[in-house]
């Protein structure tokens, strides 16, 4: 004898509605568990994506050359002599372009200066850069062009400004073509950067960018802040790093006095840490699902003993042990499914609220957490109702019917 599955579902649904309090309680427990998994993993995943995006805005396959040796325990003769490390120069930067694995090299200077135009004035960060900086940094232009492609040594009096500077200094006036005073020199504005995020702590919107040679003159300094090097591919990064170290050692009389940071290594570490955090948080939330499962078992046991007479009756009417089993399991499964669905909905709503409250945090629940929490909910519902269902299937109909 086979029950129609639609009959099983309808009967189970009726049984659940017959005991609304216990059904709703179980549903809530299940929903909370699932919602917790979805929301917490969404937060963890959001944090991971946030960090990834921040790093990605710095550029991919990027190597950063910093003057000075900052290795732990690294003691160079210069440290004892109280010498400052040897400066990085434009010639150093130029020497780094001579490697097949290197696509772009951008020497960089940083300083601050007063900028002004027609009486409006403010102090701001001035970056000395080159044409390739645009590509390396993945910046985009709002108006005009970026610095022209020239030799590193050429001090052209042109500048590119960030969106905030444009607004504060030029207001409604046309910025392109105007002469901006930076320190005691004048630079023609040839471009405005599209408003974008920040990198290495500097808000791009609040910077003014001039050719690196002009920056050397402006700040009266030859030493570079750092050199950005973009490798052709991920595979080229390690050879490029070795090339940079070897070339600069040779140029600096055999002394290894620079530090090369690869962005990918830092990013990978963060990615790993935050990924593990997401799993851990999801796992902890999954415990609440297991708790919900135990609650389901308890409630189903009560349900079975509450309905002893009904189960006895079904047996008297010709229900087989398997039919009783499937009816009780269907009840638990149905409840878990509705609970899981409610939980998914709540979790998605919660994630939506988080994204609304913190627009920079991409708190989307990962697909594996959504499917795993729903799956675990159904599985716990099934597993923990097996015992009560078997108990029901084994009930002695005579005893079941005589108990009042």
């Amino acid at each position: 004898m086979r029950l129609h599955s639609s009959d099983v579902v309808r009967f189970a649904w009726g049984a659940l509605r017959g005991y609304p309090t216990r059904s709703v309680l179980m549903l809530i427990a299940m929903a909370i568990g699932v919602a917790a998994v979805v929301m917490l993993t969404a937060l963890g995943e959001g944090a991971r994506r946030y960090v990834s995006n921040e790093f990605a805005s710095l550029g991919t396959h990027l190597l950063i050359v910093i003057p000075g040796r900052s290795e732990t325990g690294g003691v160079s003769p210069g440290t004892f002599m109280g010498e400052t490390p040897r400066d990085l120069t434009l010639d150093d930067a130029r020497s780094l372009t001579r490697s097949p694995g290197v696509r772009r090299v951008a020497p960089m200077m940083v300083g601050s200066a007063n900028v002004g135009w027609r009486g409006r004035e403010r102090e701001t960060v001035v970056l000395g850069g080159t044409h390739d900086m645009l590509a390396i940094r993945h910046w985009r232009m709002a108006q005009g062009r970026f610095l022209p492609r020239t030799d590193f040594d050429l001090a052209t009096p042109v500048c590119v400004i960030g969106a905030t500077i444009r607004r504060e200094i030029f207001g409604a006036s046309r910025a392109l073509g105007s002469w901006l005073r930076i320190g005691d020199r004048r630079f023609r504005v040839i471009g405005v950067l599209a408003s974008e995020g920040r990198s290495i702590g500097v808000d791009v919107q609040e910077t003014v960018i001039i050719p690196v040679a002009s920056a050397q003159q402006l700040f009266d300094r030859a030493s570079l802040f750092r050199i950005l090097v973009e490798a052709r591919s991920r595979a080229d990064m390690e050879p490029a790093r070795r090339f940079i170290v070897a070339t600069l050692r040779e140029r600096h009389q055999g002394e290894e006095d620079v530090t090369v940071i690869t962005q990918d290594a830092v990013l990978a570490t963060f990615d790993r840490i935050l990924g593990a955090l997401t799993y851990a948080v999801g796992g902890i939330a999954a415990i609440s699902l297991a708790v919900a499962g135990i609650l389901i078992m308890n409630v189903m046991l009560v349900a079975v003993s509450q309905r002893t007479a009904e189960i006895g009756l079904l047996k008297a009417l010709g229900a087989t042990a398997r039919q009783i089993l499937s009816l009780i399991l269907a009840e638990a499964l149905l409840l878990s499914a509705v609970g899981a669905l409610t939980g998914l909905l709540l979790g998605e709503l919660g994630s939506l609220a988080v994204r609304h409250a913190f627009p920079t945090l991409p708190a989307w629940p990962p697909w594996w957490a959504v499917s795993a929490s729903a799956g675990v909910a159904l599985l716990t519902g099934l597993l923990f109702s097996l015992l009560p269902a078997r108990r029901a299937a084994r009930l002695d109909p005579v005893l079941a019917l005589s108990r009042r």
Binding site: L3, H4, G14, E310, K315, A316, L317, G318, T320
Partner: protein, 230 residues
């Protein structure tokens, strides 16, 4: 139809053994109307449960419609309960959340009968009980007599060969009990084998064959073929 041969049913209570049925022999032909009476604890319900395959004998043979049912497995016994046997209980045992019609449909649902046909047959069974206008009512919206008639409709919807009633009037007043007994007798008149367990000698006395039990044994078995149902 029903043939019990040297049936024993023992219950172990602690280290004591209770002989609920003690070497019972009973043959009932198709279409008979049998009442079972006797003092409390004499084994009446045990006998009825055994005939209805809700319980298994400790020893002895039981032939139902010529088939030895003592050797059948649980699923096969369930099948026979579903198709060949109808139960009517003292406590009605209707599922409270289901309507009268849904309660009557239950045995058909378990048999896998499609919904449309189920509805038709349940409606017919309720009509036979004079309850067509109560089909959509839940048990708590029905009187005791009506509830028991819904239970009878449920017991007969699969058109079983045997109808087993354990104190069917036990929870009813005189008038409602009378109505239920008349319904059962009408079913018997149309051919169903009817076995009624009762304490009420007025009701038991109406049966054409009256079995008396004491301490797990049948102590009297009198038939009056000439006595027609009142």
């Amino acid at each position: 139809m029903i043939s019990l041969q040297h049936i024993h049913r023992d219950f172990r209570v602690g280290d004591q053994i209770v002989h609920a049925l003690d070497d019972v022999d009973l043959d009932i032909a198709a279409g008979e109307y049998v009442s079972v009476m006797g003092p409390s604890g004499s084994g009446k319900s045990t006998l009825l449960n055994l005939i209805g395959l809700l319980d298994r004998a400790s020893a002895g043979r039981y032939l139902l419609e010529g088939e030895d049912v003592t050797v059948l497995d649980d699923d096969r016994q369930a099948w026979i309960r579903n198709r060949r046997i109808g139960f009517v209980f003292q406590a009605f045992h209707l599922v409270p959340r289901l309507t009268a019609a849904e309660n009557v449909e239950l045995p058909l649902l378990l048999a896998g009968v499609p919904p449309a046909e189920r509805g038709k047959r349940a409606a017919a069974a309720l009509r036979a009980m004079g309850l067509s206008d109560r089909a959509g009512h839940r048990p708590d919206q029905l009187s005791g007599g009506q509830r028991q008639r819904v239970a009878i409709a449920r017991a007969t919807v699969t058109e079983p060969a045997v109808l087993l009633a354990d104190e069917p009037t036990g929870n009813l007043d005189q008038h409602a009990g009378q109505g239920v007994i008349e319904v059962l007798e009408a079913l018997n008149a149309r051919g169903i084998t009817l076995i009624v367990v009762t304490h009420d000698s007025a009701i038991g006395g109406r049966a054409r064959r009256r079995v008396r039990m004491l301490d797990g044994r049948i102590v009297a078995d009198e038939a009056e073929a000439d006595r027609a149902p009142a």
